[in-house]
Symmetry: C2
Subunit: 691 residues, 2 copies
């Protein structure tokens, strides 16, 4: 919801209330599991406020700007130039009279909108005669507006700070420390999750373009060169929709190919980039996005930063169109090089060479270096540094000139120095190296958590057919195709409307379960027994760290299921008269029904199993509801009362537990366990017979 | 470490590098489990940047200041007045010539240092002749400095924003929405975890006084009055060190009492406050703080905000002395009342009354209200509002005057209105109410996550006696008393220094385990088998979401244990020749040793059990290492080789799995399970015999 709503709100600031905040937390926890734990990444937690120097070096002070165009007659009407250009191109493409050729041209302009320089933008605005949309007035020439929020640090206010525009810089700053923590080993990755801030000119689209938002970024540091990834083979056969820059410039659509193909034919620049594209895709699907509405778009050559080797955006299709949600860029060695230079710190890594290599170099002799220092005094060091920085050919030319003319002139920092040939004495040197030292390249997957949240809400939302629908459809697990219009039969539902469902995966659902007494009479007539059952459930759920809701309202059970469906709660636990032993079937005492939101199927299981079952249903390699139905039978059908010890040998142990025989069984097994049995079956039979 | 270190750093900004960032994340996750899940709190996630209006209402624009005193001869030397006062009082108390009476006086002044107003501070500074510490110059009169970081919002820069000084305001702003989400039920609590920002005058003490820090706050909304808490009985018998304001003002120390006593005798104002003091204490201990170094200090009457009913700080003793880490305040209805007034929003809740009550009131008749509107035109509404706001006695006096004189004059917003007696016609009304409407009171536990981190690092750190020490001491579990100087014997340690250990509880440890090949030859000679074992471990640990480290360096096993101890890793998994089936004892194939950091005890268990065992060892209601030793025996002692199927019936199932018999066993059990067996033992025997 809009932040500060009771104060009228401020554009670009949004608050996650309950249960949105819980979904966001779960999504971040899932990201941590999917990336940090899986890839063994290091994590840093840097500050939101950063000083001027850091952001000057990173280029944000000079270049982190958008361009504003203003209405020439009313300076209070202004637009973000690239977004206005995109909107105008969209409108012209949609116009009836537009020819296919023009359409392609407009599409190209739109694709490049945020890559144009100030001057290019002005040319394009003039070429297409773009006016102020509502007034029709002319627009002013674009002016740059820096998007960082400034804030002064300290009581004197003399130290300029900014709110960070991205979390990535905090990783580069701590590269050296992280490399040490990783015992100098490369490749390795570092992650940071946190807020970033951009003082957007025209925030819009709800969660899509906020002034304060949450990023999750990885910098994966690797050796320059081919950049293969050790785990790439595991994802090579994964196929997805790619939109390479050639297709975009030709106005063509996406192509579907495997990542193995894409990397082999260099559509994707290298294996590390390809690996993170794959992991990103798998993450988005695991979080609830529909695979068919995810594509990876390559940046156009003009759109990419000059230092970037290749860059792909994960775009997700939502009601607003295809929205960039993740950027995965090969940023070469740019960032570490800049920060290293600015701070005179060596931000390098090294690897052992398989065999030592010999390097020949051509450089000043020690003697010449000494003479430069002596003769040029204070200017000596900078002249020496200048000469050391020259490439071999230039240096050789200089030496030749000095030998021919007796001296050669160099210009350093605008000052001319005439150097005699003694000062330019050089020699060829040979050096043997056992390690290779380099500034690591980085591949940077950068996630916009809020945008992914928006996609999840849209993709998991569906409307259930309230009445009718056949049982087979109702119990089918959700699929990509079926989700948006799934049929399901809700037993006992008294609601004629088609109910809305948020089909969050259990891993990110805000509550894992809702607990429901079947009807209010149950509580009224059995207060103590009900309280005891509820308490058992609560305690075990809390112990397992599972959030739940209790709905003790007087609404019908169907109505309460529907309410939980709207909140995206994946499972409902119903306490009924059977649970409390108040029915004709005493075998059901101590059991509850567990209902699956998406299939609306139910199983009946011991109340004491609920928490552990929900834990398994909500983790990385989950138990599926189908497994559960196989183990416990379907509780909602009267015929399918499950045989007590179903569920294989584990179910058997449960059954022993229910009969209070666990300790006895354990003792028997342990007593025999002192000797090593040859035949497990005979052994267990012997143990049982001793009980 | 200091933030932006390669750029020279900026005071008051700190970065958590690995593994500190991971510890912080785990601490926050633990907080979520301990408070949000346990208390079923709602969670919000509001913005860091907040607009002027919100912080004007909350009082932060006007009053969130510290006082600066400057050296009268050098304005670049300045001090935070209250902290300078505290330091001076500390120094004077420590002086030899100080009498006990003076000591008490200085202690009182110190305790009140941050509660003095600007004028009071100046009086105190003059009374005690406080000078600029290094120069001995006079100090200037204190001036207020607002601690919020300002930042402009939007391209015009016309909207003033600030970085939030606390996370609490974001909860109050969203109270209405949260109450709806809670179906109108009260009491309930809302939590927020996030960054807060204070532009400290003199940041110091590392993590203790930062300019950017992490808070975790709860606002627990409840009905005004006695404020009992439904779960108070569960914590009433918990005893802890309290420092009530009477004892502080008398210069006396803490008293130890149970919370039941403290609430009963009104030392702590109410049960809700007492409950959260208890939960806070339990959280701190669970996170690794030592109980004997935790105390709760009550705010002095002068120190508390005027609206607060009672306030207690959890103080933790560290090398810097007793540091306030958590504040738990009963803030009455102050915040909701302010925001409600400022936004003309009704921030109230209601509860059903057990029996309806009748309320009598005395107010203008409808007819009089109509006449006021007609006769006073534009001024009508404000005059009506003024009259409605009068208490009964004042209104009756006014009516009496109008009846006596024909009219009465009232002054509204500086304007006088003469009201005829017709306009002041009043009547007594009787109303029956079934619900009680009120502005909820809040109890606010507010946690400084970074300070708690600092305490955990200090309290869990200990030095192990490297050589010698007796086995009994070595295997004793850590206790409050023993932790700081625990003896432990490290088998195979080749290090003569006393090794340092960070005894993090497993729940917050950055890595749950380190995986160690016993020596490098193991890998060299058995590359494939080792890789397979490692891969099995990695996959299961990742599936369980557990972070781990692998140490394949050439250092001795003892040295690598010691390294892991320094990082606070609670368990070490060692892969040895037995694991790979390369020893004389084939029964140990597929098993590894698991070493406990604090006791240095070891058990030997199946490699496939490791991940689930670690999960249990690192959760809320953990398995203890003693349980594990009972189940598996102690692996480090040669005599105690565990029999293969130890571990009771569950271990038995593992054993079946190792023999590839799981599917067969499950099938046999399931086949028989169709009928309900009477005798579980006979049933399982029958199943086994069919295999």
């Amino acid at each position: 919801m809009q932040a500060f709503e009771i104060y009228g709100g401020v554009g670009g600031f949004w608050t996650y209330g309950p249960p949105g905040a819980a979904v966001k937390q779960n999504l971040i926890a899932l990201w941590r599991k999917h990336f940090i734990v899986e890839e063994n990444l290091l994590e840093v937690d840097d500050t939101n406020i950063m000083p001027y120097d850091v952001l000057k070096t990173s280029g944000h002070v000079d270049r982190f700007s958008d361009f504003i165009v203003k209405d020439s007659k009313d300076p209070n009407i202004f637009f973000r130039a690239d977004k206005l250009l995109e909107d105008v191109m969209d409108a012209r493409m949609a116009a009836k009279e537009t020819t296919p050729e023009l359409k392609q041209e407009y599409q190209r302009v739109k694709n490049q909108a945020d890559a144009y320089s100030k001057d290019e933008l002005w040319v394009v605005f003039q070429k297409y005669q773009i006016k102020s949309p509502d007034t029709g007035n002319d627009l002013t020439e674009p002016v740059a507006f820096n998007l960082m929020f400034p804030t002064p640090i300290g009581p004197s206010g003399m130290l300029q700070g900014f709110l960070r525009p991205e979390t990535a810089q905090g990783i580069f700053l701590n590269f050296k420390f992280c490399l040490e923590q990783n015992a100098g080993q490369i490749p390795f990755g570092v992650a940071q999750i946190g807020k970033a801030f951009r003082n957007e000119i025209a925030p819009r689209g709800g969660l899509i373009r906020q002034r304060e938002f949450t990023q999750a970024e990885i910098e994966f540091f690797c050796k320059p060169g081919d950049k293969p990834h050790p785990k790439f083979a595991g994802v090579a056969s994964l196929a997805m929709q790619l939109h390479p820059h050639q297709q975009q410039l030709a106005g063509e659509g996406t192509v579907t190919m495997t990542l193995g193909e894409a990397v082999a034919q260099r559509t994707i620049a290298n294996g590390t980039l390809g690996y993170f594209i794959a992991r990103t895709f798998l993450f988005l699907v695991r979080a609830g996005c529909l695979a068919e509405h995810i594509r990876f778009r390559q940046h156009l050559p003009d759109e990419m930063a000059h230092y970037a080797a290749d860059c792909w955006d994960a775009e997700i299709e939502m009601s607003l169109g295809w929205v960039e949600c993740v950027g995965i860029a090969d940023r070469s060695a740019y960032d570490l090089t800049c920060h290293g230079k600015a701070t005179k710190t060596s931000l390098t890594a090294q690897v052992d060479l398989d065999k030592p290599i010999t390097i020949e170099s051509y450089a000043l002799t020690k003697k010449a270096e000494g003479l430069i220092g002596k003769q040029l005094k204070g200017a000596g060091p900078k002249v020496k540094e200048y000469l050391q920085g020259l490439d071999e050919a230039t240096l050789k030319a200089l030496v030749a000139k000095a030998e021919a003319d007796g001296a050669a002139t160099v210009s350093v920092d605008g000052e001319d120095f005439s150097l005699s040939k003694e000062l330019l004495e050089c020699e060829s040197k040979t050096e043997t190296k056992h390690v290779e030292v380099f500034v690591p390249n980085v591949v940077e997957p950068s996630f916009g958590i809020d945008r992914i949240m928006a996609a999840i809400f849209e993709h998991t939302f569906y409307t259930r057919e309230a009445e009718g629908g056949d049982a087979a459809a109702a119990s089918a697990p959700p699929t990509d195709d079926g989700k948006k219009k799934k049929k399901g039969k809700e037993e006992g539902s008294d609601d004629k409307q088609k109910p809305n469902v948020l089909g969050f995966p259990a891993e990110i659902a805000p509550y894992k379960a809702v607990i429901l007494p079947i009807q209010l009479n149950l509580i009224k007539d059995n207060a103590t027994a009900y309280a005891a059952a509820l308490d058992t459930l609560r305690t075990k759920l809390t112990d397992n760290g599972l959030q739940y809701k209790v709905d003790e309202s007087g609404a019908s059970i169907g109505r309460r299921y529907a309410r939980a469906d709207e909140l995206g709660i994946p499972y409902a636990v119903t306490i009924d008269f059977d649970t409390l032993g108040k029915s004709d079937d005493p075998s059901k005492a101590g059991t509850v029904t567990l209902r699956d939101r998406d299939s609306t199927s139910q199983v009946r299981l011991p109340l004491t199993d609920v928490a552990d079952t929900l834990t398994k249903l909500s983790t990385a390699h989950p138990l599926t509801f189908a497994d559960l139905m196989a183990a416990y039978g379907t509780g909602s059908l009267p015929a399918a009362t499950p045989a007590a010890p179903a569920g294989g040998a584990s179910g058997m142990l449960e059954y022993f537990a229910q009969h209070g025989l666990t300790a006895k069984l354990n003792a028997a097994v342990n007593a025999l366990g002192k000797e090593k049995p040859d035949d497990p079956i005979a052994f267990l039979v012997a143990a049982l017979q001793k009980m």
